[in-house]
Subunit: 357 residues, 2 copies
């Protein structure tokens, strides 16, 4: 309670370093050193000051500190869509990771709007972020990355990229992941496999499409552009896309999907068309979202880890902030694994998931 009355007693607001110093009978420099955990101050002095800080309920003013030290220990995270659970988990993991080293994350959701993204970035620069992790919105220009570089602000692209290797990037191996998925279907005997979802402006969609094609070609199957059914990343759109796929000639017997959301739409679309997914038609997704195991049929999918990507991206950014002059890095994390469940119609292997009831 004492801190309340003390605080209320001050004419204009906040308690400052100077107040602590006066009450403790030392200079503000000493208090500053204590706050920063310097080994220079004598331990008994430190304890006395610590006690005073706690007793008075002093709140450190990071803004003031940053002004002088020119360090804000703040990074910016801009994602294209938090309402997508992958990015929500990415965000949570990234924040939790950097927080342990005392970094603060400024968060922004561009909602796939480059204009909003630009505003967010401008705002972040005004706030003095020391670096940015960017999951670029649809239609982001490479000029944005170049502008940040020119302005001396480290930026790590993640999960998507709008530049080539000349800029830092951390993502998972979409090509390999989709190769694994496609190859699995080929091994199961499928010869006509569709690709559902994706868009040319999305680098990870392009990579996944390439993985699909690589696997086909490696097994001597033709890549037929007519079997690529692009659609928005929404269940309704995916359900329509799979219906279109069923009407194609030759008719595919299986499909790899851009991601789990698209796969869910595909499962639904198949049922609506009177087919039994996992029996009459095989489907594989990508992401391994939390609810994949709970669908019926449960969804076979490529498991990737938002946490792993977030941690790798954050590490790279912090490294880049510490040493801005290193060459750019392009980090590709392997997919965790192909999770074989019911939707691809594969015989389950030992140790793999089996539905319980």
């Amino acid at each position: 309670m004492s801190e309340v009355s003390d605080l209320a007693g001050r004419p204009s607001g906040r308690l400052t370093l100077k107040d602590i110093a006066d009450r403790a009978g030392v200079s503000k420099s000493t208090v500053s050193l204590v706050l920063r955990g310097s080994p220079l101050v004598r331990s008994e002095t430190r304890e006395r000051i610590r006690a005073m800080i706690a007793e008075l309920g002093y709140v450190y003013n990071r803004g003031a500190a940053s002004l002088r030290s020119q360090r804000t220990h703040t990074i910016g995270l801009v994602v294209n869509d938090v309402t997508n659970s992958f990015y929500a988990e990415f965000t949570a993991a990234l924040d939790a990771f950097v927080e342990r080293d005392g970094w603060v994350t400024l968060f922004g959701n561009s909602a796939e709007s480059p204009e909003r993204q630009q505003k967010i970035i401008d705002r972040m620069r005004e706030q003095g972020v020391e670096g940015i992790i960017l999951c670029p919105a649809r239609g982001t220009s490479p000029d944005l990355i170049e502008a940040l570089r020119a302005g001396g602000l480290p930026c790590v692209q993640s999960t998507r990229h709008v530049t080539g290797r000349e800029a830092d990037y951390v993502g998972q191996d979409n090509v390999l992941g989709m190769e694994m998925a496609t190859e699995h279907l080929i091994r199961l005997g499928h010869r006509c496999i569709a690709f559902i979802g994706g868009a040319p402006w999305n680098s990870s969609a392009v990579d996944r499409e390439n993985g699909y094609r690589n696997a086909l070609l490696r097994h001597g199957l033709a890549f037929d552009p007519a079997l690529v059914f692009r659609c928005e990343t929404r269940q309704e759109a995916a359900a329509r896309a799979i219906a279109a796929a069923l009407a194609a000639s030759p008719q595919p017997t299986a499909a790899v999907c851009m991601n789990d959301l698209v796969a869910f739409g595909a499962l639904r679309g198949l049922s609506d068309q009177g087919l039994r997914p996992g029996v009459d038609f095989a489907v594989v997704g990508f992401d391994n979202r939390r609810d994949t195991a709970f669908w019926r049929p449960s969804l076979s999918t490529v498991s990737i880890s938002p946490e792993a990507v977030a941690v790798a991206a954050a590490s790279l950014l912090l490294r880049r902030i510490a040493d801005p002059n290193g060459g750019s890095e392009w980090v590709i994390l392997p997919p965790e694994r192909l999770v074989v469940r019911e939707s691809c119609g594969a015989p389950l292997m030992a140790g793999e998931e089996r539905r319980t009831a």
Copy 2:
């Protein structure tokens, strides 16, 4: 390009107000006024300075401004779980809303940990947030709210509360929402209705449970605690809970669920038990998540709007910041509506949703 070389030419970092002032031949006070859009400066001076700012690529230093003005125009948002799509949408909507008035949102995800929540709040105070919107983590003490009040930092609880009316709160009407859901089932002829999910520490779960009970009692049905099957908010747990409900005596013929996620688990659990949800057993959810319409059977649910709650909470907080001395407010938004779909087995009414295939 000129800004690049100019910037690079400076010995130590950033371009400041003074630099702009010197190059424009005015004082830094004038430039400051221009930046803040003051009507005091002559329009031609303003334009000249604006041009110079744009040409040199000057970046405003909010930290320095805040230090002097004692205003950060920053608020904190602490949610208990961003990976829950309701909160992801809540976050996105809130940020977009306050951003229009020039406010910056500092975001934190407590992941239901009061310790982490405390750390986040401490950090936010150091950053100088002018107010906080808090969706309290499981186990949050009312003392936290009291401490913020004592420290003079406005705080609006949202979606959940750990205090009574003496503190600001914005939420939706969970009681009424669940009354609507339960009443609908009663009107359909159900006499033995279970409540699935929820926990006593979660105020919104408690409210929903109360709504369930109110509806029963109003229709002369007994409230039987043995028909309340509490469980974690996860599909697996909900599937187990519904299995337990089916084993109860008297055996329920319908269930209202704490939220959509629990309802999904219930649907799954029913299927796994060999029952046809929506035909043999009625289920209603709560939240109206985006994917509810796409389940089979599609889920009947109480529709609430994360955006509406976010906007109301933000408005209240900004009002409280502008005038800290107003009495506390307790804002309860009505549920949007009961969305009748297939899972409750109701005959569809005109204008309501019907599955397409």
